[in-house]
């Protein structure tokens, strides 16, 4: 007989515990609604925890600690995230592993701290100058929070990159019951450092992964150079040399290559019975799940694609979507941000967007506004 362990918890707790088990050891942050619970859980669980005076300091402290060999985490919402953007670009360019949890709320600017949204998708797509993609993982369930957080640590270390875990107020701060015996303990992600005897070139990449070996600045065997300026494989500033341009492009290539081989989604598929698809992610996917069930009761079969490796978009995701003749995107925003990343600014006739601003998108609205 299996022993169930039914408890009441929220996504915030699950994400924090998963990150800690996966090997994240440091939390730096500034509290901001609706991420405050994550900050509190981190202070209870992470050995190294520091309140920072603001979000620019947060990301700079995180980058420094990452350079010294730690795996830091922070959680924020748009007003803090906006302050972090230049520093995340720096960590991206320096190739430093770290995790940033973005719990979306209604904007713009201060907006409404206690209202949820999925309004930062377009921002995430473009946040690295040059349009280079940064990994964004988006859980839509407790189980997702568990294994996607582990995956975030895996990606951060393996790809030497900041990784974003995307949530929103309605999932992060809503309690629900769950049998935690279903959450298998997470083995910490192992880290490998450069062990060669040759002089260490900080940005010389491995052919298979396109990722350079990491060495912390605490090591005394090899000189380490980290720089946010355009650079060559030695980490020396370059204007726009061929080697430096290849290095910059490699920053997106390494991520795209990984995602093409490993990305997460759920396709609730009624076995080729329908030409209609709903596409969703995060909290609005929960509304879409219910819409799919309600439509089925009415005799209307639709498939549901819940995207979990939200960005960059794997070719397989684009292929799945384009197999369908009627596509409905369901998002908690006003302007169909994910729909427009996939299909462009003017959605084709067979693609519809249903959204909501200032409230959760409901199954009823999806059913009334979608094309099935």
């Amino acid at each position: 007989m299996t022993t169930t362990k039914e408890v009441i918890l929220d996504d915030s707790r699950v994400i924090m515990e998963a990150l800690a088990q996966a090997g994240a050891d440091t939390y730096i942050g500034y509290p901001i609604t609706p991420s405050n619970a994550m900050y509190l859980y981190a202070s209870m669980r992470f050995k190294y925890m520091l309140p920072a005076p603001d979000e620019i300091s947060t990301l700079q402290y995180m980058s420094g600690l990452s350079a010294a060999g730690h795996l830091p985490v922070t959680a924020t919402s748009f007003p803090g995230f906006a302050l972090m953007i230049e520093s995340i670009n720096m960590a991206y360019m320096m190739e430093l592993p770290m995790i940033i949890i973005l719990t979306q709320r209604l904007g713009p600017a201060t907006g409404t701290a206690t209202a949820g949204a999925q309004g930062d998708i377009a921002l995430l797509r473009g946040m690295i100058s040059g349009g280079h993609p940064i990994p964004v993982l988006c859980p839509a369930s407790i189980e997702d929070c568990w294994y996607l957080s582990k995956e975030a640590v895996q990606m951060a270390i393996e790809l030497r990159t900041p990784v974003i875990i995307l949530s929103s107020k309605e999932r992060a701060t809503t309690n629900r019951n769950f049998d935690i015996s279903k959450l298998a303990p997470i083995t910490p992600v192992s880290r490998k450092y450069y062990e060669g005897t040759e002089p260490y070139l900080p940005y010389k990449y491995n052919e298979a992964s396109l990722v350079p070996d990491f060495l912390p600045v605490s090591n005394t065997k090899h000189q380490v150079r980290l720089t946010a300026s355009t650079h060559d494989q030695k980490g020396i500033i370059q204007h726009t040399s061929e080697e430096a341009m290849q290095n910059t492009i490699r920053l997106e290539k390494k991520i795209i290559k990984y995602v093409e081989q490993k990305h997460f989604y759920t396709l609730i598929n009624a076995n080729n019975e329908t030409e209609s698809l709903i596409v969703s992610y995060g909290v609005s996917a929960n509304a879409a799940e219910e819409a799919q069930l309600l439509l089925k009761e009415k005799g209307i079969i639709v498939d549901l694609l819940i995207v979990k490796t939200l960005l960059p978009i794997a070719t397989e995701i684009n292929d799945i979507i384009r197999r369908y003749k009627k596509i409905t995107f369901a998002e908690d925003n006003y302007n169909g941000q994910y729909a427009r990343i996939v299909f462009g600014d003017k959605l084709p006739d067979h693609v519809k967007f249903v959204g909501a601003i200032g409230k959760m998108l409901s199954p009823k609205t999806i059913i009334e506004g979608g094309i099935f």
Binding site: T33, M44, P53, S57, M62, G64, A67, T174, S218, I237
Partner: protein, 426 residues
């Protein structure tokens, strides 16, 4: 093993620039201490001074403009205290990153900052910074800067740095740098210099010593004796789930065959959120799935308090509000907050309203009960018992068991409420 800090004598600065001397003096200080070159991390800011990375044999980190002190602070927090983390920053970076310098001094991180103060932004054409002395000529203030300037030494000393010193960037000041490097905690040295390209150009008749004196910036050293930064030793949980008690399920038949919503609405400080938590625990004990969401103003001690609970025999997907079957209102704050909801309740809904509140226009069935009779703080729980007694979705015994588990039975007037409920039933 490399022992020299600089890999060349040919530094990449304009002829006559004080940056040469800062680099050479810093190298001399490090070498005189016999430090392992790879125990040293240079963090360089943006500016002419920051192009020095490629001539350094130490670790080098070149980040964002003005953020070098915060980056260095993070690096030093991750290293043992025998390592040396040195920041090269200009007066421009020190202006942008003034807060980072203050914070680094407050925390007293093990970092030595050397400010290359040539009173202007060299790299971008000689514009003024926050450290440009009033009266100094720059490209945009050719008749003298009209603005006051910071005294970075005074600020950093007051913020708590263990060692602060101002020197004129002429000759050998390596002893000052050496002393800073040997001082645990945060140290800052402001080196005064004139930019040969822009500073001299716009202030041709002035000598460095005179500029510094006219600006009232004394050449001296200030010290504090505070504990250097260390991550505090903290005891942490080995698992966050240790704080989520396992709920033992009762083996009872379920009354509900579909999802319902219960909204609890009252005043801050009257246990609305607690009642919602207890309701959810009870529902889980009875084998249901739940979601629970709380809404209240940021001033948590005053105003309304609202909770939305979903209870379902099946998996809950969408947890948003949609035609709740039960609305419990126990105070005027809750009443005012729920006005719109009350008027939109459907006919199959039940409004459990405290007797002190007047019955509003609503399609729902109204139960007008004196929940507040046993005290404002017990009103929501009293309403839960009423809910249990009239719906059987959860049982009053289950609520009683949970209150006992939470050591709340002593203060709760259970028997009186039970008696009132019996009266209600009949």
């Amino acid at each position: 093993m490399e022992t020299k800090v600089l890999n060349t004598n040919n530094l990449p600065f304009c002829k006559g620039c004080g940056h040469h001397l800062i680099a050479q003096n810093t190298a001399k200080a490090i070498e005189s201490l016999g430090l392992n070159i790879l125990d040293v991390v240079f963090v360089t800011d943006i500016g002419c001074h920051g192009i020095i990375d490629k001539v350094l044999n130490t670790h080098t980190v070149h980040g964002l403009h003005g953020r070098s002190v915060a980056l260095a602070a993070g690096i030093s927090m991750g290293l043992t205290s025998n390592k040396k983390v040195i920041v090269f920053i200009g007066d421009g970076g020190a202006t942008i990153g003034l807060q980072h310098i203050m914070e680094a001094a407050r925390l007293n991180v093990n970092v030595t900052v050397i400010v290359h103060n040539n009173f202007l932004y060299g790299m971008t054409g000689g514009q003024l910074s926050g450290l440009t002395p009033k009266g100094f000529n720059t490209v945009i203030t050719p008749n003298g800067s009209p603005y006051n300037e910071h005294d970075i030494c005074s600020l950093t000393y007051t913020a708590g740095a263990n060692y602060v010193s101002r020197v004129i960037g002429i000759g050998d000041f390596s002893e000052t740098i050496k002393e800073a490097l040997q001082t645990p905690g945060f140290s800052l040295i402001e080196v005064m210099e004139i930019c040969p390209s822009y500073g001299v150009k716009y202030n041709p008749k002035r000598k460095l010593q005179e500029i510094v004196e006219a600006a009232n910036k004394p050449v001296k050293t200030w010290k504090n004796n505070r504990q250097p930064f260390e991550f505090p030793q903290r005891s942490v949980l080995s698992n966050l789930f240790d704080k989520t008690p396992v709920i033992e399920k009762l083996d009872l038949p379920k009354v509900l065959n579909k999802q319902i919503q219960v909204v609890l609405s009252g005043s801050a400080g009257e246990g609305v959120q607690l009642a919602a938590t207890i309701l959810c625990k009870a529902a889980v004990k009875h084998g249901y799935n739940i979601t629970q969401k709380g809404t209240y103003p940021v001033t948590v001690g005053v105003g309304f308090s609202n909770a939305e609970v979903n209870i379902s025999p099946k998996e809950i997907h969408y947890h948003g509000l949609s035609d709740p079957e039960y609305l419990i209102v126990t105070s005027i704050d809750g009443y005012d907050y729920s006005k719109k909801l009350i008027s939109s309740l459907k006919e199959n809904a039940v409004l459990m309203l405290d007797k002190s509140l007047s019955i509003p226009e609503t399609k729902a069935k109204v139960m007008h009960v004196d929940f507040r009779s046993k005290g404002a703080k017990n009103a929501q729980l009293a309403a839960l018992f009423c809910f249990a007694a009239t719906t059987n979705i959860i049982l009053p015994e289950t609520l009683e068991g949970i209150l006992a588990e939470m050591n709340m039975l002593e203060k709760f007037p259970l028997n009186e409420i039970k008696t009132e409920l019996e009266i209600l039933k009949n």
